[in-house]
Subunit: 323 residues, 2 copies
Amino acid sequence: MLTTLKDVAKLANVGVSTASYALNGNKLIKESTRKKVLQAANELGYHPNGNAKNLKRSKNDMIGLFISGFTGPFFNQLLEGIQDVVVSHGYELVVCASNERHRMLTERLVDGAIILNYHIESELLKTVASEKMPLIVLDREIDHPHIYKALLPNDKGIKQALKHLEDKGHKDIGFIAGSTDSYDGETRLSAFKHYIKEHNFTTEQSAILRADFTEASGYETMKTFLKNNHHYPTAFIAANDEMAMGAIRAIKEEGLSVPTDIAVVGFDDIIIAQYLQPSITTVRVHKKQWGEQVAEAMLNILKGANADLILQPTMELIEREST
Amino acid sequence: MLTTLKDVAKLANVGVSTASYALNGNKLIKESTRKKVLQAANELGYHPNGNAKNLKRSKNDMIGLFISGFTGPFFNQLLEGIQDVVVSHGYELVVCASNERHRMLTERLVDGAIILNYHIESELLKTVASEKMPLIVLDREIDHPHIYKALLPNDKGIKQALKHLEDKGHKDIGFIAGSTDSYDGETRLSAFKHYIKEHNFTTEQSAILRADFTEASGYETMKTFLKNNHHYPTAFIAANDEMAMGAIRAIKEEGLSVPTDIAVVGFDDIIIAQYLQPSITTVRVHKKQWGEQVAEAMLNILKGANADLILQPTMELIEREST
DNA sequence: AAAAGCAATTGAAACGATTCAACAAATTTA
DNA sequence: TAAATTTGTTGAATCGTTTCAATTGCTTTT
C-alpha cells in the first residue's frame, strides 16, 4: 500500500499527530523531532492524501474553471489571466471541459468555480452554489446570492462596430451570428438587431446569417449567401473573428474584394486577426484582463470581501484592412 | 452546514447505508425506497462530497494533464484529443498549469497523470508514480516502472525538413532554437546538429540562433542576426512555427524575400501557419492524434492492460510558400 | 410447524488526514 | 517546596462517504 502519515510517524517514532504538526510547520514541535519526521517522510517518499486532507479541512485551495471545450483560440488568453492571479494567491487552478458530469464542480472538489460552459445548466449551478462555494458566471444571466456575474459588454462592442461602419459610409450591413447556445453570440446578435432598427439601417432580414463560430461555418454560410443573393450588403459584422475569416475567404473566392466590395468586422481580436491578408478590423475583447478581473473577484469573495462589484471588461474597436 | 448523506437518509427515513446504495443504483434496494431517497436528495439539493467519496473508494475517476502554461497555440489540439478520449471512457480530465506545488498531482487527486511541464522535476515524478498512479511523460526521458513515455520523433521531423531543403538545393542552412528548458526544442536542435554534420552541410556555428519559442523572440533574434552578419544561410529551420513567423517578419523587414533570399521551415504546423503570407512550410505534428494515443494508453494502463507500447505519433512535412 | 432461503435494510468500521483536549515533563514563580 | 506555567507530545474524535457483515421480516421448502 501507499505510504500514509501513520507510516511516517512509526518510522520517526512519534505519534501521528506529532508527525502531522511537524510536517505542517506547527511551532510547538521541537526542531529535532521535526527533523526526524521530515527525514522519515522523505525516506518513504511520503505525499499526503489530498482527499483525506481536504475532507478534514473542508477546503481545497483550488479554483475551477469550467469551459465547454478547448477548441478555438479564444480561451488561451483568458486562461493566462486567470492562472496568473490564482497562483499568485496560493491557490491552484484546474481547468475542466466537461460536458455532462462536471464532478469537479458538483462534488465540491474546488473552493470556487468560474463558469464559461453552456453545457452546464443554470438549475444545476443553483443547487451547487453556496456560501462555501461561490460561482462566477461568464456566460449567462442568473440570479442567486452566491452566483456572481462577469459578463462582456457585447452591446457596447456592437455599437462601436456599427459606428465605425457608419462612419465609413455603410448603410446596408449584414450579420453573421454564431450558434444559439452562446450567450455572447446571442447578445451580440440582439444588440445588432436593436441598433439596426434604432438607426434605420437598411439591413434585410436575409442578410442575418447563422453559422456556428468556426472558420469553416463562416465560409460555408457566406458562400451560400453570395450564391443565392445577387444583392448583398456592403459590410458584415461577424460574431467572432473565426467566422469573419471564413467569410472573407468566401468573399474573395467569389471574386469580390474586401473591403472594397464588402467590408468585414470581426469580434474578439484573436491573435491571428492581425496577421491575415487583409488583416481583420475587429472589436477587441481584453481577454487576459477579463481573466485577471474575474480571478481577483473570486479571490476576494473567498476572502469574505463583499465583492458584488459588477465587472466591466473593456472593449475597443481595432481598425485594420478589412474595412 | 451543507447537506450530507445523513441528512438525506433522515429525510427519507432510512439508514445512511440504504441511502448510499439507493443513490448508487444498487439493485438490492426496493424501487419504492429508492424513489423516496432520490426524492429527498433532490429536495435538499444534495451532491455527494467528492473528497469523502474518493477517499473511501481510493479512486477519483479523474485524469490530470499537467502543462507548463496556457500560452501559445500548441496545446489546444493536443487537449482536444485527450479530452475526447478521456470522457468517452467515463473519466474526467483536469488540466493544471502549475509551476510549483502541483498538488493535484502530488496529493493524488487524479488516478493518472500526463506530463508536459518542464517545471516538474523528474525526481518528484519518481516519488509520485506508482501502481496506483501511472504517469505518461511527453517531455523527457525518464526511467521508472510506472512512468511511460510518449515522445515525439523530432529526429525524423528534422530529417524530413533537411531533406526537403536539400532537394530545393540548399546547402547552407541555419537553425533557430527555442528555450533550453524544452525537451522537444533541444532534441530538435541536437538532431539538426547531428544531420548537418552527417550530410556535410556548410552551416556555420553562428547561424544556429537561440530564441525562446515566441514570435517576438524569433523576430528579434533574426533581426539581430541579419544586422550583424552580411553573409547569411539560404534557409533556416525554426524549432517551432511561432519563431518561424517572427523570423519571416524580420527577414521581410530587412528587405529580403522569403523564400527567394531565405527559405524558412517551421515546426508543429499550428493553425495560423497556413493563413500567413507567405504560408509556412512546416513539419506537421499530429497533435490531436498524439493526444488521443496518449489518452488511450493511459486508460489501458489504468485498466491494467500491459501498455508499455511505445507511442509513435507521426510527423510529416507540409510544403507551402516559405520554401 | 420448524428449517431454510431470500429480499431489503442497517449499524459500524473503514479511508487518511487535522485538531482538540489531555497529559507529562521541565521550567518558572510564589 | 508547592503551585503554576510553559513546552512537547499524544490518543481519540472527526470530516462524509462506501461497504462488510449482521439483522430483520417474509416466503418457500421439508
